[in-house]
């Protein structure tokens, strides 16, 4: 997202925090498609995503006063609310549609290293540190973040027992932290 747009979004959120309904409407117009994309990807359920879209923007109105532009971009703040809302919801349900699990079962790990190579162009910490992990482990981190995979879903997709996945992912997350701390 270009810088000017970030600044505009930050300002809009400031106005929302001050109680401007007009700013709130504009903010919705600018960002609802991004939020909907996140919700749809994680829930894989259109009607649920529509319900959650409403929930997310109700939170935007309520939490706007706590937004701190010096800490995060408006879009980052918003995606964090959207992801958390979606994950809180799907973790409370026992099941969700498994459509994209099937596609990933073959060759998910190979595409992930290509994606990471693309990301590495940005020269960012996470991309670099993820690339140092085992392919399978960095794939798992990405699937959890972007698609809301649970340990059970990761275990199913990889054909590895859940407890094994949990213990190697925890080790990898600690390594990730060490790597990012030394880069900073």
């Amino acid at each position: 997202m270009p810088n000017g747009q970030d600044q505009e979004s930050d300002k809009l959120l400031g106005d929302v925090a001050a109680g401007s309904r007009a700013a709130f409407k504009l903010f919705y117009e600018h960002h609802s498609s991004l939020v909907f994309g996140v919700l749809l990807r994680i829930t894989r359920d259109r009607s649920l995503a529509e319900d959650l879209l409403q929930e997310v923007f109700v939170k935007v109105w309520r939490y706007a006063p706590s937004f701190d532009a010096s800490k995060a971009k408006a879009s980052t703040w918003l995606i964090s609310i959207a992801r958390n809302t979606a994950i809180d919801n799907i973790r409370k349900q026992s099941r969700r549609p498994q459509t994209d699990l099937i596609d990933e079962r073959n060759g998910g790990t190979t595409t992930s290293s290509e994606d990471i190579a693309l990301n590495a162009d940005l020269g960012r910490n996470l991309a670099h540190c993820l690339s140092l992990l085992d392919d399978k482990h960095s794939w798992a981190v990405r699937k959890a973040y972007l698609d809301g995979y649970s340990y059970q879903e990761l275990s199913d997709a990889l054909g590895t027992p859940l407890n094994t996945v949990r213990s190697w992912l925890r080790r990898s997350l600690k390594r990730l932290r060490d790597c990012m701390d030394t880069k900073e």
């Binding site: 994309g37 990807r41 923007f57 649970s150 992912l169």
Partner: protein
């Protein structure tokens, strides 16, 4: 320092959304009373947000009227809609039929 490194991994699991139901709720409760833990989660959130560019936009339905309804109570609706608010279509149709019957009856009486 086992606790500390365990918390680092737990904070990452929370940030990724890997903790399920009870574990997620329990960790959320710990965050609200432990600023160090909250800062760890913020750190992870910031790091993982580098992946945000991979989310795609999808044309969203307009749920703004429902949002306003939920937040502000009533929303302003167009005049015509407000006039007929709460009047079901079948009631209008019934009214129409009654009017027709009345006209027909008057016509029959006056013609005879």
């Amino acid at each position: 320092m086992t606790d500390q490194t365990d918390d680092i991994a737990l904070a990452a699991e929370y940030s990724l959304g890997l903790l399920d139901g009870n574990a997620r709720d329990a960790f959320a409760a710990r965050i609200s009373s432990d600023p160090t833990l909250a800062a760890m989660v913020d750190d992870w959130d910031a790091q993982f947000s580098e992946l945000n560019g991979e989310f795609e936009t999808v044309q969203a339905p307009n749920v703004m009227p429902q949002i306003e309804q939920q937040l502000f109570g009533q929303t302003r609706r167009p005049l015509l809609e407000r006039l007929f608010a709460g009047v079901a279509l079948w009631k209008l149709a019934l009214l129409g039929v009654l009017a027709l019957v009345l006209v027909k009856a008057i016509l029959l009486i006056t013609l005879n």
